[in-house]
Symmetry: C4
Subunit: 274 residues, 4 copies
């Protein structure tokens, strides 16, 4: 009985931190969003030599403040949730933790300075806020559609990789070391740059035969880029159909596949909505 | 009774300026189109140093004439429309106004010379003419389809941006300042150039590890470019289905969603076509 | 009665030249294909300085032979067809003629030498042969699907062009002449190179603001490339459905929209196939 | 009767080598996968000059071991299969053999050293392992979908090639030899680099007219890249529908094309599921 006000306090905190239905919850989300974005901007600006020389100390102080703020937030998250262990090992919990670590490492190790870059991982936390917003349905829809594509896309990427390894090896033979294709990994890098139509131009074929092979690579890349698109388009269409069909098995004969607006089961005639 | 001929005159003017059913209306549209395109060409040519030195004065005179013409047109639009205030604050009205401002600014301020570039915004006015042509249905169809995609596309772009920030930061660590990745914003710029498969080659990885990370970025970009395509294709298909289903609510129970070939309402059994 | 053997000879010639059901017709097609491809290769090789110096005279002779051959073929086509005038002004007839002209021009005018390049247009004649082969159905299907997209694609291209003109003008302001954006047409060229994700790198942004604008252009290009894909995918699906649905209006009540395998009209119950 | 234990031994070997249901079969597959990947890595590293100088001899020994291993594997495959001749001339058999040849050639001929690069073809053997895994359904689905697209894609590629030949010839005229467009094949190479949106930038237009033509080429490439995507998306959708419709011919009148949820044949009225 004595712990009830405490529980109440924890419940309120949970509502503020994890949900966004209340004004306080919304304010917290907006504040977190601002903190994340400004902290990322600090990381970015700090990497520019001329700005670092001028405002380096300010950035250090700001970073310290951000670290303290995010640490407090992390602790509050741990306190206010029912199953803190489950949170720590959830995807979002791991991201929250990883985004915290580099700041602390840089305090204890001087060599870990470069790890500060991983503070950019904080940006991933933005998705936490969107997960709670109106975008949830769309995100769910997209992830469901893409899940169905993962296997097909990975077969596709394996095929592309095999093609690049073989074509890269051929180009290494054709173009020789003098023309920038100095070894097979380099040639494979070129093949990937070409087949994905990025085309930096840091390495490009010089001999006529090399240019011919390169043209073939490009046309292959041009034609097969259509494959993942076709796969994903198809799976988005499938996911969209399934979304509609979810509450559809007949409650009396449990057969599926009714129209989304049907009122009665078309197999046994009993009402679909009792 | 006395104002009727005036009203008649205003009605005729409206027909000429805003519609294109009459020969005069069509002639006005064609004239406006020519004025817009030639004025844009003047802006373009005037920016070329050698041409500016030769014909700079001619261009100035032409620009003055265009400014006067577009101002007259704008005033006529205001006069001939019933609710001028509504027009001024409509999307097309704002574009019309913005396209006028730079010319006048350059008269009063000498420093505003560079704003002349914004005369290029006049090109947007071309869509006004198409809005009145046969393209209306297609434009409506496309905008309706894309409206449905906006939310999904923005989630996609946010994901891409997060990926580029994180990969850019990693590349900054991997490639170091000497190789062109001089700071994190620069590295993010590189990541965007790479993931969108633009690939200028002004910054490109030099170290083997950098090339490996770059290859991963490219393959990711290659695979995920399919996502917005899938989304938009799906939403175009949806929009096309909805277009067909428009006149479909039952006249007696007003429920929607009937098959395109249904004759009777499937909810209440009354005829859909009375 | 006397003209019958002549007619017969003309009919046989027509069969050989215009059709490919007979062995002679097939042999003619294969021969024409070889003549077209080898003549294109001659044009190509002749443009290479080192090869031209060695075999220039041989190429000249070969070109003369090709010209004579294609002229004879053109005359035979005129003779063997029933309505020669209609052929001359048909798409294929015009291509046949255009492919002939440059050779003759170069005989009469010395300055017309450079027009020889237009002999490459002969390649278009390859489609004549495919039109007669098994590919006809596929070509018909594709052209029908693309016809439906033309209007939407042109709206899309107009939008892209407007975006490039406006963004090109902005970049001209942002990057200034020193950085390669020497005038607005040049900047528009850069915007097109960027938004289409070609990315030569001959002009690329140098200032931080320029790089930021460029990143926005790239992400726009990345997102909107999906639009034409969506349009064409949709129209291919439509064309495929229409192909199946062609013979579908009920012969008794003339209403459309029956399933492709329906035997009886679903509106009036009479047989669809009498 | 005496040969039975032998047959049994052959059967077991077949199960290990060709199938992956047993633990031994799975171990064999994993071992083969590791051997293929590590042998490819050896090929790659051996092509890097600095690494070759250090570990060249080690790589030679490793390569010898791989050659022996793959030869033994090939012989075991021949022994354990029922119809060895059929295997030798099957697609997978030919790949297995081609992957073996270069190692042996380099022993007998010194000049054949460069053929070692073709050991990269071993990577193709990776698909053998996937063919036996869970990916089989997906691969079948994809190849079926792509088979339907082959003809349409080849028409598309022929059209693209014709466009590049003609545009390349025009650019050769427009840009002249000084600007990198030194002959027509080179110009066609440029057109392919541009239309596929690869855009190396090794050759890029210099004159204003050249830049204009290039812009047109890019916009064409931008618009028509949608075509293969549309084709493949459509054929994937078709393949997916056919997959579902497979067990659908009526058992009494054997006509096909019933709705996926139909219970009775719509042609003869008898039950589809007896």
């Amino acid at each position: 009985m004595a712990s009830e006000p405490h529980q109440d306090w924890r419940f309120k905190l949970h509502e503020i931190i994890y949900e966004s239905n209340t004004p306080a919850g919304k304010a917290f989300d907006v504040g977190l969003l601002i903190a994340i974005f400004t902290s990322i901007i600090v990381v970015m600006l700090d990497s520019v030599v001329s700005i670092h020389q001028k405002y380096g100390d300010l950035f250090k102080t700001l970073e310290l403040i951000y670290s303290v703020l995010f640490t407090i937030e992390y602790i509050l998250r741990l306190i206010s949730i029912r199953k803190p262990v489950k949170y720590v090992f959830s995807l979002l919990g791991i991201i929250d933790l990883i985004a915290l670590i580099p700041s602390y490492l840089s305090i204890f190790f001087i060599g870990a300075q470069s790890l500060l870059v991983f503070r950019a991982l904080r940006l991933l936390r933005v998705f936490r806020i969107f997960k709670l917003g109106h975008f949830l349905t769309e995100i769910n829809f997209l992830t469901q559609a893409l899940k169905g594509s993962v296997r097909k896309i990975s077969i596709f990427l394996l095929t592309v990789l095999t093609i690049t390894v073989i074509l890269g090896s051929i180009m290494y033979l054709v173009e020789k070391r003098e023309n920038g294709f100095s070894n097979i990994p380099e040639s494979i890098y070129w093949a990937i740059v070409t087949i994905t139509t990025v085309g930096y131009g840091d390495i490009s074929p010089v001999t006529p035969i090399g240019k011919f092979v390169a043209s073939v690579v490009m046309l292959i890349g041009y034609a097969i880029i259509a494959v993942p698109t076709g796969i994903i388009t198809h799976d988005i269409a499938l996911a969209s159909r399934q979304k509609k069909e979810l509450p559809e098995s007949c409650p009396s004969c449990s057969r599926e596949g009714h129209d989304t607006d049907a009122l009665f089961c078309k197999y046994c005639g009993s009402s679909l909505y009792r």
